[in-house]
Amino acid sequence: MVLVFAESHGGQFKKTALEAVTYGKKVAELLGTTCVALTLGTVKEAGELGRYGASRVLNVADTAYDQFDSQIVTAAIAEVAKNTEASVVILSHSSTGKSIAGRLSVRLNAGLISGVNSLPTANDAALRAKKSVFSGKAIAEYEITSAVKVLSLTGNAVKPESTGNAVSVEVISVGSVKGRIRVKSVKIQEGIVPLPEAEIVVSAGRGMKGPENWGMIEALATILGATTACSRPVADAHWRPHHEHVGQTGIAIRPNLYIAIGISGAIQHLAGVNNSKVIVVINKDTEAPFFKAADYGVVGDLFEVVPRLNEALKKFKGGQ
């Protein structure tokens, strides 16, 4: 059996949870078994996970899990994994998943492959899966042979597929453990898709000259329903907030589309974005290294190109 831990935040599932269940179902098919989803704490409409491929949805309806503490979450997942005799446990490679995956592998005596980006292959007792390593500069295929296996799935690696039906939620309980982390507050930027989850990212660098010019970048992001990002010097100069900084020292992302405007494409920047499926580079310098990593390029002055792109996109969106 494949057990998927479906993360919820404020009672809701994020796209990453739906991706994890979709992935879990495919892994279960590969292994000739079923996929069971586990949710912790207060969640709304958990049965909807059935649509993404969970044949059962379990919920530990204890409000202790409404605040995140990797220790108690790990204990709960491990207990359920043991009781249901799960052979594979799947998590999201998110801030939550990264806090749990290592713990869970120790607790279950399981091999772990974190940040997998495609379906595994399996033979006999071994399971192999690929992940991106060396900050996107290589791919490593890992093998685990332990009885129980833990995989965490990178965001945007699979598309959530809603092909089944909702199921009824089975409320279960596990041995209670007291968390030792006290969550004081959670501050989330309202109304924007967080960078690691965004499908389209519009990013700009020092070529913008100053923060006062970002209006056209925001306009472009709005037209595309994209999240905005920036290079490190832009965040360091406080032209843009720090949470927008992508790259080796900032956030690593893998959107479907990354549009880089006035960014040179230094290796430390590429380290965080080179897993994007399609890269568009707008830069006035033909020699900018970013063009080597790009799928589409526009050599030109961004102050002319971006407004034109915005017009073209508006026309396209209007005509759709």
Partner: protein
């Protein structure tokens, strides 16, 4: 205050990554190795700042071969009081975590620092594993850490925002950008580092349960398709019809 900082060594981001002919091993020759940036800039520096403010000892720990000593010495030059190397050639996160946990269990640290991830395997695994071995709370991706007596307040990066948490010592954390500012070792630091102790500890036996069987380089891009700057309709068309991303 007894602080442990786990230090790993990784290839410099700018190094060219290559593998042996059948793709089973990383080609370490001609690669420049550095201290993993998150361990150095954020974890180690914050630990040193706390020691400077509150007194105590900062121990830098590396699980690895003798060749790592340059990196370990650097951690002493930056400000660690002593260094420990668990002598082995580690082959995975679970192995490393087991070594760290066995060492730390006997030493009763107040706080154990990790970097948010190593830039070679990008796993973010070891810190969580050690926390579980030691049954300690774990705060990952911490971008701020303040201590008030035995109570710590931390900010942790989560998708689209931050979470503010409080936890009592002892616990384990992984550090991300914001926790401290990079420190360049000065001459005095480098000189005093020579006199600081570097202890070598034997590794415990542990069977690694996850291994790399094949390395490959990502498929190279087909090459950039250039679009004329005055023809953005064409770019939109390509993104819609060819790339199918809008």
């Amino acid at each position: 205050m007894k602080l442990l900082v786990c230090i790993s060594q990784t290839p410099d981001t700018t190094s060219k990554i290559s593998f042996n002919a059948d793709g089973t091993a990383f080609n370490a020759a001609s690669v420049q190795f550095i201290m993993n940036p998150y361990d150095e800039w954020y974890a180690l520096v914050r630990a040193c700042e706390l020691r400077e403010a509150l007194g105590g000892t900062v121990v830098a720990l590396n699980v690895g071969p003798a060749a790592n000593e340059t990196t370990i010495r650097k951690s002493l030059a930056i400000g660690a009081d002593e260094a420990v190397r668990i002598d082995c050639d580690p082959n995975g996160a679970a192995f490393v975590a087991k070594q760290i946990a066995e060492y730390a269990r006997a030493e009763n640290f107040d706080l154990i620092f990790f970097g948010k991830e190593t830039i070679d395997h990008n796993g973010s695994e070891v810190g969580a594993m050690v926390a579980e071995h030691l049954e300690l709370p774990y705060v990952s991706y911490a971008s701020k850490l303040e201590l008030n007596g035995t109570v710590a307040t931390l900010e942790r990066d989560i998708e689209g925002g931050v979470e503010i948490v409080e936890v009592d010592l002892p616990f384990v954390l992984s550090a991300s950008k914001g926790m401290a500012e990079q420190r360049i070792p000065n001459m005095r630091g480098i000189m005093t580092a020579r006199a600081k102790p570097l202890k070598e500890v034997a590794a415990v036996v542990f069977e690694e349960n996850s291994k790399v069987v094949q390395f490959t380089l990502p498929p190279s891009k087909a090459g950039v398709k250039l679009v004329q700057p005055d023809n953005m309709d064409e770019l939109v068309r390509l993104l819609h019809e060819e790339a199918k991303v809008i």
